[in-house]
């Protein structure tokens, strides 16, 4: 068990870590996250004994770590750094065998059990086939797996990982982390993982420490800590936090930067969409600083979630229900308050035909209408031609047709510029 008590760390006369306290019990998988410069790596280097503490204590199984000798610490803690540079042509196996250093006397050769451990670690990390290759000649990802094998060969109770997978492709990233998670479960290893990747933390860690400017912003169970509020206050980014239906773990998805305030525009754009057809446009418009409203969309539909997340006013309808007159009217009112309306490339059935009719109505009332026609209407018309008919009317009535979302943005810009002649 690792216990960190109120530690401070100075680097080049500036305080990098302030009053950090936490614990990691046997079998715990702990993540440390935070923005660049928040002190993640420094924290890992401090608790592993590389950097001196200026205040506080680190206890390893109840013993003060500053009083333990390096070799004993090396039998307890193994570290996988972000990068390893090796200039001399050691073979991969020689490098992994160096993991046994803390167990060997000065002139002792590796014993049988050492070599067994080396082979086992190399098989686990799928590096056994590289054993006779020179580490100066293998790829960065292969070298990183060799270094991880070395840390496993060290046979410690604590494993510290500092961005261990930044060199690995997604396949090897998952493989290595799943392996580490397995060792964590089966051998009750304490694993501490420093990473930028919140989704890796959500997937593999049980506990999380969020660092901000050298202090702990929040710590606890991953599900309690990994919230949009915490992410926003630490990273200044709006993020979607959801439970992934497939993995069952939560995942986060950064949406946009807070650059919106700088590009504030007054114009209101109304977006008619549904079923996720308008989400990306909604985000783009919102990001470009427009006032956006949407309608009519069903509650819990993908577009509904996006709108709620971005705090966009909307005309909603009960889940899986056709559009009622009430919400149609609400939608129309919103349209009347807008400078232009955009009709997203949504498929039309009897349930949402009113969304198409409202566009026609708006056009008649003199509103600018932009129609996204990425997929031809015939392919998304489930109303036996009614939708196609209204589409023709829109065309005749002077609506602007755009081939994709990107074109919509430039069209909007043109339409809303004071000297537009469209």
């Amino acid at each position: 068990m690792l216990k960190v008590e109120m530690i401070n760390c100075y680097l080049e006369n500036s305080l990098i870590l302030r009053d950090i306290s936490f614990q990691a019990a046997k079998g715990e998988f702990l993540g440390i996250a935070g923005p660049n410069g928040s002190g993640k790596t420094t924290l890992l280097r401090t608790i592993s004994g590389i950097l001196p503490l200026t205040k506080g204590r680190v206890y390893l199984e109840g013993k003060d770590m500053s009083k333990m000798d390096k070799k004993r610490i090396a039998r307890k803690i193994a570290m996988v750094p972000q990068n390893t540079f090796i200039n001399f042509p050691f073979t991969a196996m020689e490098v992994v065998a160096m993991g046994r250093t803390p167990y060997l006397h000065r002139f002792e050769r590796e014993r049988k059990e050492d070599l067994k451990k080396v082979k086992e670690s190399m098989l686990l990390t799928r590096t056994w086939h590289l054993r006779d290759k020179k580490v100066t000649e293998i790829s960065g990802g292969e070298l990183q797996r060799v270094v991880i094998a070395q840390a496993l060969a060290q046979n410690t109770e604590l494993l510290f990982l500092d961005e261990p997978t930044s060199h690995l492709d997604i396949n090897h990233e998952l493989e290595i982390l799943s392996l580490i998670a397995r060792l964590n479960r089966e051998h009750l290893l304490i694993v501490i993982l420093v990473t930028h990747n919140l989704n890796l933390i959500a997937r593999y860690c049980q506990k999380l420490i969020l660092l901000k400017e050298g202090k702990i912003h929040a710590q606890g169970e991953v599900e309690d800590i990994l919230t949009s509020e915490n992410i926003k206050s630490v990273y200044h980014v709006r993020a979607l936090v959801k439970k992934h239906p497939l993995t069952g773990s939560i995942y986060t998805f950064p949406l946009c930067f807070n650059g919106r305030e700088e590009t504030k525009r007054r114009e209101r754009i109304h977006l008619v969409c549904g079923g996720g057809s308008g989400s990306s446009l909604m985000r783009e418009l919102w990001n470009s600083g427009y006032e956006v409203s949407v309608g009519v969309i069903n509650v819990f539909d993908a577009d509904f979630e996006t709108a709620t997340l971005l705090n966009i006013p909307l005309a909603g309808e009960a889940p899986f229900s056709p559009i009622t007159d009430e919400s149609y009217q609400k939608n129309l009112r919103m349209i009347r308050d807008s400078e232009a309306i955009i009709l997203a490339g949504v498929p039309f059935g009897e349930g949402n035909l009113l969304n198409l009719k409202v566009a026609k109505k708006a056009l008649k009332e003199g509103k600018r209408v932009i129609v996204v026609n990425k997929t031809p209407i015939q392919e998304r018309d489930y109303t036996k031609g009614k939708a196609t008919q209204i589409f023709e009317d829109l065309k005749k009535g002077g609506a602007t047709f755009a081939n994709d979302e990107r074109e919509v943005l430039s069209l909007i810009e043109k339409i809303l510029s004071p000297d537009s002649v469209i």
Binding site: A78, N87, P89, F90, E94, T101
Partner: protein, 334 residues
């Protein structure tokens, strides 16, 4: 691999012995191996009774007072410089480091020259050389270290700058000195012209201690190649080991410089050749490099004294002729 390494060491031992005898026999006067055996055995207790009709007195003088100490000195200096080179390359994690390139040789030669002029004595010269060599290496190290790493460019440039500075001061000291400095100039070029028993005596304790002491840290040197932090995580007391290795390398280089002047490139090319033959594991590189270094310098010296005999060349010229192209090749290959 292990078996192969044993073979290499065995072969080098035989080569060393052959080198020893051949180099004793060649020179401005050729002396047969049979006569050499007689002379050397004749000097050993008990065995000397067997020797009948000893070779002429003049041959005995050449072998015992001129060639033998000279060859022993070349062997000591070669082994020492090669080992110091291995240690520096490992320490700086940089295959282009060597006592000569990083400036210790120039620094030491300043101290040695100063001592030769001001307080000549059997150990004052190597100790003074050791002191200035140590100052040089700490200076170069401090200058070239950036964020915990020692990039090759800054290391080489800092080594050249500090080395040139000390060479300049050495020249200055020699220039303003009232004494005759002809012997100093010759010594500076690097050679075993001063290969006598007192120089052998002078270098033996330092190099004889330095090589095994560096070997003692061979496992640490291996682990240090992963980076200083990784080495710490494997239980190595990195700061302590680094300082000890720097001191030992300086000690060896300084005593080599004190007895034979500045002989460049041995500390650079021998570690490389060794790694090509036996791989990078310091547990094997250190003894093999010491063997090859000794053999190499004996041959260079034999060449120096025979190529335009009876005039002899400073051996530094020979090693530079081999070493400089090799160094350029290494730089290009990077």
């Amino acid at each position: 691999m292990l078996k192969q390494r044993r073979k290499v060491i065995g072969f080098l031992f035989l080569l060393g012995i052959a080198t020893f005898w051949v180099s004793l026999s060649i020179g401005s006067v050729s002396i047969s191996v049979k006569d050499i055996c007689k002379i050397i055995i004749g000097r050993l207790p008990f065995l000397n009774n067997w020797i009948k009709n000893e070779p002429a007195q003049k041959y005995q003088l050449i072998i015992l007072n001129l060639r033998l100490p000279r060859i022993l000195l070349a062997m000591l200096v070669g082994s020492g410089l090669a080992t110091a080179g291995v240690s520096m390359q490992g320490l700086f994690k940089n295959p282009l480091a060597s006592p000569y390139v990083v400036g210790i040789s120039s620094g030491s030669s300043f101290g040695a020259a100063l001592a030769m002029l001001l307080l000549p004595g059997i150990f004052s010269v190597p100790l003074s050389a050791f002191f200035t060599g140590l100052v040089t290496i700490f200076l170069v190290y401090k200058i070239s270290r950036r964020n915990g790493r020692v990039p090759v460019e800054t290391l080489l440039l800092a080594g050249i700058a500090v080395g040139l500075f000390f060479s300049a001061i050495t020249s200055l000291v020699m220039y303003i000195s009232a004494q005759s400095v002809h012997h100093l100039v010759f010594w500076m070029m690097g050679g075993f012209g001063g290969g006598n028993w007192s120089n052998v005596l002078r270098a033996t304790p330092f190099i004889g201690f330095g090589i095994p002491a560096i070997y003692y840290f061979s496992r640490e040197l291996n682990v240090m190649q992963l980076g200083e932090e990784s080495a710490t995580h494997l239980g190595v007391e990195i700061e302590k080991v680094k300082k000890i290795l720097l001191i030992l390398s300086s000690l060896i280089t300084a005593s080599a410089v004190a007895v034979s002047g500045v002989i460049g490139f041995v500390g650079l090319i021998i570690p490389h050749i060794t790694r090509i033959i036996v791989g990078p594991d310091h547990r094997i590189v250190i003894p093999v490099a010491a063997l090859i270094g000794g053999i190499f310098l004996i041959w260079c010296d034999s060449l120096a004294r025979t190529v335009i005999a009876p005039v002899e060349l400073p051996v530094g010229i020979i090693t530079a002729c081999f070493g400089a192209p090799f160094f350029i090749y290494l730089l290009k290959r990077r």
